[in-house]
């Protein structure tokens, strides 16, 4: 609970600092005098949300990214599995994919304009290409890293190629695949917004760029906040889906920073001493070990597990 308070406080502090710098028009080396204040942006946001355009932009961008991302997920997993499992596919597809991979998806805008009859399809193409490579590469690695006995076990049960794919390869690669999907949804947003800025009709990116050209800075920030929130929601959705589908993974009981550290009271010269943290407690069992001989080693190991 206190962690949520901390998170909200951190966000509020950042906004407060922003409001302070912009309303005081601080012009040191960084110039905040032209910057819209938080209040300006909130007002512009309220205006936008009550209009229809905002929601059209939002649904356009969302449908582009969801289509592009879904295509990328399917194609990326399929290609990754194919390349990892078949030497022929690796030889045929590998070189082409490796040459295409370093090209930033957004640099494909001219290609998209040449290839596709509509801007809409071009944007989906760019979004898809952006997410495809992280998904494909992580699938390929995950499939290659599968434990061989899983497949051997299914083969000795009489399982064929499709059974191995469905019962071993796909479920076993899922943790890796979701690593790729998480990266993919992020780059998808970057690319859908950039593509909309260059060639869109409607869409959050298009609107943001329009606002910039007509010097409506609060509008630009409304666009940015919208992208941020949508991006956060979609990546959280991917993350949660991934965690649910891989809930069989053994998880460590260790929670970073959140584990309650047991206080160990040791009596020294009759006075109770609380030993806390790793630095101090490490010495204490050492001293005990000398007294107890062999059993001390075991006790110490237990203590730190």
């Amino acid at each position: 609970m206190s962690r949520y308070v901390l998170r909200v406080a951190s966000l509020a502090a950042a906004l407060g600092l922003w409001q302070l710098l912009t309303s005081l028009k601080v012009d040191l080396w960084l110039r905040f005098s032209q910057f819209p204040t938080v209040a300006d942006i909130a007002r512009a946001f309220a205006d936008r949300v009550s209009g229809d355009d905002y929601w059209t932009d939002l649904t356009d961008s969302l449908s582009r990214i969801l289509t592009g991302f879904a295509l990328a997920a399917v194609l990326g997993v399929a290609t990754g599995v194919l390349v990892a499992r078949s030497r022929l596919a690796e030889d045929l597809l590998g070189p082409v994919l490796e040459v295409l991979r370093p090209i930033p998806a957004i640099a494909l805008v001219p290609v998209a304009i040449l290839l596709f009859p509509s801007d809409e399809q071009g944007i989906v193409f760019i979004t898809c290409t952006a997410a495809f490579f992280p998904v494909m590469v992580s699938t390929r690695h995950a499939v290659r890293a599968l434990t061989p006995v899983w497949e051997e076990a299914v083969r000795t049960m009489g399982g064929g190629r499709w059974r191995i794919l469905g019962s071993v390869v796909l479920p076993g690669a899922l943790p890796g695949i979701f690593g790729g999907l998480s990266v993919g949804i992020g780059v998808s947003w970057i690319c859908v917004i950039s593509a909309e800025m260059i060639s869109g009709q409607y869409g959050v990116g298009y609107r943001t760029w329009q606002d910039y050209t007509i010097v409506n800075y609060p509008g630009v920030f409304v666009g940015m906040v919208t992208i941020g929130v949508l991006g956060w929601i979609t990546s959280t959705a991917v993350e949660l889906l991934g965690r649910w589908l891989t809930r069989w993974l053994p998880r460590t009981s260790y929670v970073p920073g959140g584990r309650p550290r047991p206080e160990v009271h040791t009596v020294t010269d009759g006075a109770p001493v609380a030993v806390r943290g790793d630095g101090e407690s490490q010495q204490q069992p050492d001293a005990q070990q000398q007294d107890r001989g062999d059993t001390g080693q075991e006790a110490r190991d237990e203590y730190f597990v």
Binding site: W150, V154, T156, S167
Partner: protein, 256 residues
């Protein structure tokens, strides 16, 4: 065991005979065993002993059909083996359960591959888990159970497919001594109803003598000898002169 007849499919109640003929075994370019002639009789338990790295696992993987012999043939009841099949189940030393399936889900897998309907699958899987003493753990994921329990689940999974041959690659090698002897008793008990032929690989001579109807010795890249083990099955039984002599003979053979 009264449930055995309804669990094991009729064709699984008969063990197959496996024959290795003048075979060279290993990976391409790296032969491990030479000139192997081995006849595994239908329904027997053949234990294979030898030091680490002598080719025990290679032998077993070849019998399973996962490795092709570099020369010679493997045949089952006279038919040449060309690849793995549901006839010959393999139990691995390491944890080979699929970690995303519960123990029940793992045991259901060979049944699903054999085409058993979903409802029958569940009942049969639970019956097999019950026979290896895991009825209470059926819904657990593999990483939540102990090493011994996971090996028992592997055994249940191997037997659920009603194989005619069960190949076991040091299945109890990673277990502590008490768990291990419990597992040996359980194995003998569970196998009794199936009639399956068993090839059991181990580096533990006492385990080989306890479980085996016959013991094959691997040494120096060859099958050094195959010996009958006196019955009845008895743990240790060093006061029995025939067994003690056999044990001495096995331990003193070259390479062991």
């Amino acid at each position: 065991m009264s449930t055995s007849s309804e669990v094991a499919a009729p064709e699984g109640a008969r063990g197959a005979r496996l024959t290795l003929d003048a075979a060279v075994l290993g990976r391409p370019g790296a032969p491990v065993l030479h000139d192997v002639a081995l006849d595994v009789r239908a329904g027997e338990i053949l234990t294979v002993v030898g030091p680490s790295g002598c080719g025990k696992s290679t032998l077993l993987r070849t019998l399973a059909g996962l490795l092709s012999p570099l020369a010679g043939t493997v045949s089952q009841d006279g038919t040449v083996v060309t690849g793995p099949s549901a006839d010959r189940a393999l139990v691995f030393q390491e944890d080979a359960l699929l970690p995303w399936r519960t123990l029940r889900g793992n045991v259901e897998l060979p049944l699903a591959i054999r085409g058993v309907a979903r409802s029958g699958r569940r009942a049969q899987a639970e019956s097999w888990l019950g026979r290896v003493g895991l009825a209470a753990q059926a819904g657990q994921l593999p990483h939540r159970v102990s090493g011994g329990q996971s090996q028992r689940a592997q055994l249940a999974r191997a037997l659920a497919g009603s194989p005619r041959v069960v190949l076991m690659d040091e299945p109890f090698g990673a277990l502590d001594t008490q768990t291990r002897s419990g597992m040996q008793d359980l194995l003998v008990e569970v196998l009794r109803g199936t009639g399956a032929t068993v090839v059991f690989v181990t580096h533990d001579v006492d385990e080989a003598l306890f479980l085996g109807d016959r013991v094959a010795l691997l040494a120096a890249g060859r099958v050094a000898s195959v010996r009958d083990v006196p019955r009845p099955r008895e743990r240790g039984a060093l006061d029995d002169p025939a067994r003690a002599a056999l044990r001495r003979a096995v331990l003193s053979s070259p390479g062991i």
